[in-house]
Symmetry: C2
Subunit: 324 residues, 2 copies
């Protein structure tokens, strides 16, 4: 299936595996790219730019297909050497970067000069438009459904994507709430040139995530996520577990939430502890509403193949028959 | 465009105008049905069953096409003679009823015996499934995007519709967030057999709504709605105006919200005052996130025609080309 995004990124299917801290590692990324999608390594999962360089080399040994690197630019306690990560990405010959958090504008001249295509994640139309203006190549339009950080405006994909189609002139991919072929076609109908999936790729054979966590997501449904850090204006969507429930309890106390009150709960906030130990009661488990649509733990190849088969069937058999 | 829903309801296009208090009156309803959709009168907009009988007769003079009646079953201070409204609906030869609020189960035997098809609105998969089990004919699956009462689970259409497609065996229509042909095709791709629109039909020439309110919706975007009555567990989505902001201010005060504290603001909660006087600062103005996708005030005929043209174009030109 050729779209403006598959052409620009040199991939077979319009399916991108979004950057995920602790999850976007070699094995998963190579599996997604080998299956015809775009795998994306997460730069800051690697403790240093040099480690990222090695991770990229390892991935190149596992796939000949294009893959990308995610760089999430957020305020941090300790300064992150973003420029050095960018240099490694460029020097390693990576041709796609996914940026998130803050505007990628400061890095765009260097990336453009190196021929790197930039996908920027945005959760509101305003941020989509400023990314376009800054000069990114593709916007990843991230609806309220998404895992991680849905922003503070709570606009789901059905409306946000339709708005993006009205306003953006560059291609965009749809993010948040996608797990199957029906969703892919819905995104294309709304004007997207592909989709981004995160949680769905967490629950694959190749994801470097403990089996217990994968099974916990399979067993959860669309009503089992909660929004945390809303009082800090840094909303996150995670699965309901004792840690997220305690965060919410503290946030619901009268008065302004002090980050110090929840900091001890947020050790492992990126979910590393649970992902690695398999203890579903430890750390935060980042997952989107799409949890309700995840019922098995396929390989990436199985997942992408059946999504594409379903998408073609929806277009050719169901929709075309309605439009005779 | 023929779907299971157009066949069941005897309409030309899979577009239903959802029940709206004070808005679902003769002129709008006839215009929607004449344009090939299904117009729906709102029973409780009429002060008595006898008034509804007259409203139905008036509508019959204006359209030969099928139209329906909405009956919203909610707890009220003064008892509502639901059975009498139902009798009028049946005796008037109406063949489609839209129910909302509580389960329509008590009325189903009478409606079924009279050959009336029942569309029931539900905002969660749980309620979709209980409606199916109760024996309704069609579920109107109402996402978090919707105007009015989105429920308390906040599941947007992208996920809720895909879940409905997995679980329901009866046909369903998609509600909340729809205003154009792209959205219609997305709903069909997700497995719906049509769409329901409310806010979009408020902003048509024929809607019995003051021009100022229509223009206010045109001028608003997807970030201009707010959720009220959340603390009462009776969440409503309305436009931001001084009345809704005062409700939220009261709800944000520490402690449990007392309905008495906001009751004086809720006079005209159904929006009647603003709808009729055109004062956008008076009363609550119910509108969905789809506000962002509403840019003009067409006739119902213009609206439905261009939506169908866009839908066919998306299917035939865009999607089919992707699936060669």
């Amino acid at each position: 299936m050729k779209t403006s995004v598959t052409e620009m990124l040199g991939i077979k299917y319009p399916i991108v595996q979004g950057g995920m801290q602790w999850v976007g590692r070699t094995g998963l990324v190579a599996a997604v790219s080998n299956a015809g999608g775009l795998g994306i390594l997460t730069a800051l999962t690697q403790p240093s730019p040099q480690d990222l360089r090695e991770e990229i080399q390892k991935t190149k040994c596992l796939t000949k297909n294009p893959f990308g690197v995610n760089l999430t630019i957020l305020p941090t306690r300790n300064p992150v050497p973003y420029d050095e990560y960018i240099d490694v990405i460029i020097e390693s010959g990576i041709k796609v970067i996914e940026t998130a958090g803050r505007s990628p504008a400061p890095f765009l001249p260097k990336l453009k000069a190196a021929g790197v295509k930039v996908i920027h994640k945005a959760t509101s139309l305003k941020h989509c438009l400023s990314a376009e203006k800054a000069g990114v190549d593709i916007v990843s339009v991230d609806g309220f459904e998404c895992a991680g950080h849905p922003g503070e405006t709570d606009i789901p994909g059905l409306v946000l994507l339709a708005r993006a189609a009205e306003e953006l002139t560059i291609p965009f991919i749809a993010s948040g709430g996608f797990a199957n072929g029906r969703g892919l076609v819905a995104a294309l109908a709304l004007g997207a040139a592909g989709i981004n999936m995160g949680t769905r790729f967490v629950v694959t054979q190749e994801a470097p995530v403990h089996e217990n966590i994968k099974q916990f997501i399979v067993d959860s449904d669309e009503t089992d996520t909660v929004l945390i850090f809303r009082t800090l204006r840094n909303t996150g969507r995670v699965l309901r577990n004792p840690v997220s429930e305690e965060v919410i309890e503290i946030e619901n106390r009268p008065g302004k939430t002090d980050f110090a009150d929840i900091a001890h709960l947020v050790v492992g906030a990126r979910g590393r502890e649970g992902l690695e130990t398999g203890d579903i009661n430890k750390g935060l488990i980042w997952a989107g509403l799409v949890t309700g649509l995840i019922h098995d733990i396929p390989t990436c190849e199985e997942l992408i193949s059946r999504m594409m088969a379903e998408a073609h069937s929806v277009i050719k058999e169901q929709l075309s028959a309605l439009s005779c």
